[in-house]
Symmetry: C2
Subunit: 258 residues, 2 copies
């Protein structure tokens, strides 16, 4: 870390041994000094969870040449907090990247995603942050085609900066066709329709597996789902201010009569 | 359920035995037919986590007279999904309320909060949804002063509806002074500065407890922190569209040069 290269924090939610984080590390090594803090087990769907009821582990590991790496028992958001506080010790990294997630985090998925929540936490910490995901859930997904896009997007972020309180959610289509280019998008309006798979355990008690079907309610060509369906990489600027500012005036007209 | 009263889903993150949910149930029984689906153990800080790596339990319990109640092994968001799918079976309740949380969920806490994430999930499901929290972390917190405000706010929501994609985050001050009234607010700009408490286990391995200090970077009198510090109940309209729409034009000017 004695050179003048940018410092880059790499996190994910699929766990430190996932091929997706290996691909992301490979790109980041072209751009700076890489430190990895990632969960020791898969943490998909953890959203913005933090660990407050039990203690956290943080242990150094040595997986890839020239990369400082730590695994943690915590959630993706815990990993960012531990990195900033215990590893960077307040000297914030120049970039925080999360992923590459095995599976899309477009549309409403941003709110359930551990990958994106780690990037959101980086943004809350004031670090330029991005999350990357690809439309391939398999463990042997091939991330090669994403790499030049990830590099180009990160270079732009490091050159130009991001607006305060804004991070980027980048999703890539699958490898069935070449990527056509990059589209700046908004989050598509969609939701998951749950279909719980009900089973019975050997003791005759019921249990449920959460499954679901993605319901798209949005045909907009400015939405991330459209871009991905048309084989573009989608880039959505994301914010953590969840205030519905447009609704404040409406509510001020209400009479609570207490 | 044979009367014409509204159906109300009550959830929380402190667990089904928490005094806060009991207080909320008491208010809701004045407004409609109450169904409770709540975690079987505390789930604070779970954010918008969902359970996909293990199965879920959902079991009927009988704690309070005249209330249909279920406990689940899942997160607060899982509870809402289970309620909509397995209990209401697609016939959505007229209202979804979460809380009363033992402790504030104002400002940035909305994103870490299981209480608020359950209400967000209700809103994603298209149900008018609200989260309630109070500035008292203790198990024997007295929620009596909040009750008339909760009733009045829910009555307004049921009469007037909420804008599509908008829910309410309601926080109450502690009992050191009477509540002065209700303020419609935006989420204050603040963050947690982590301070990990580092310890050593009997096997000489380090572990960490997540602690932190709330850092307020916002003196605005239109923010929820100001309202609560001045002993008002704060009502923040919240949305789950996380797109930073204002940043889209800026990003369209970038040259990714791929």
């Amino acid at each position: 870390m004695k050179n003048n290269k940018p410092t880059i924090l790499v996190v994910n939610d699929d766990g430190i041994t996932a091929p997706g984080i290996k691909a992301l590390i490979e790109v980041m090594q072209q751009l700076g000094n890489v430190t990895v803090v990632a969960p020791d087990s898969p943490q998909s769907g953890m959203g913005h969870a933090i660990t407050i009821g039990k203690p956290l582990r943080l242990d150094k590991v040595n997986l890839y040449e020239g990369v400082e790496m730590y695994k943690s028992s915590g959630t993706p958001v815990d990993c960012v907090k531990l990195a900033v506080n215990k590893i960077f010790k307040g000297k914030k990294p120049n970039l925080c990247v999360s992923g590459i997630n095995h599976g899309l985090n477009n549309s409403i998925n941003v709110i359930y995603s551990g990958t994106m929540s780690a990037a959101v936490e980086g943004c809350i910490e004031g670090i330029p942050s991005l999350g990357f995901s690809m439309d391939d859930y398999t463990w042997d997904a091939d991330f090669e085609a994403c790499k030049k896009y990830i590099k180009a997007i990160c270079q732009q972020v490091m050159q130009k900066g991001l607006p305060i309180g804004v991070l980027l959610n980048v999703n890539f289509p699958n490898n069935s066709q070449p990527i056509k280019g990059i589209k700046i998008c908004r989050q598509a309006n969609a939701k998951w329709a749950e279909e719980f798979d009900e089973r019975q355990d050997p003791y005759k008690r019921n249990y449920y597996w959460l499954t679901g079907v993605f319901q798209l309610n949005d045909k907009g060509e400015d939405a991330d789902v459209w871009a991905l369906n048309n084989h573009y990489a989608s880039v959505v600027p994301v914010q953590f201010d969840m205030t519905a500012h447009h609704a404040i005036n409406t509510l001020n007209d209400w009479d609570f009569n207490v």
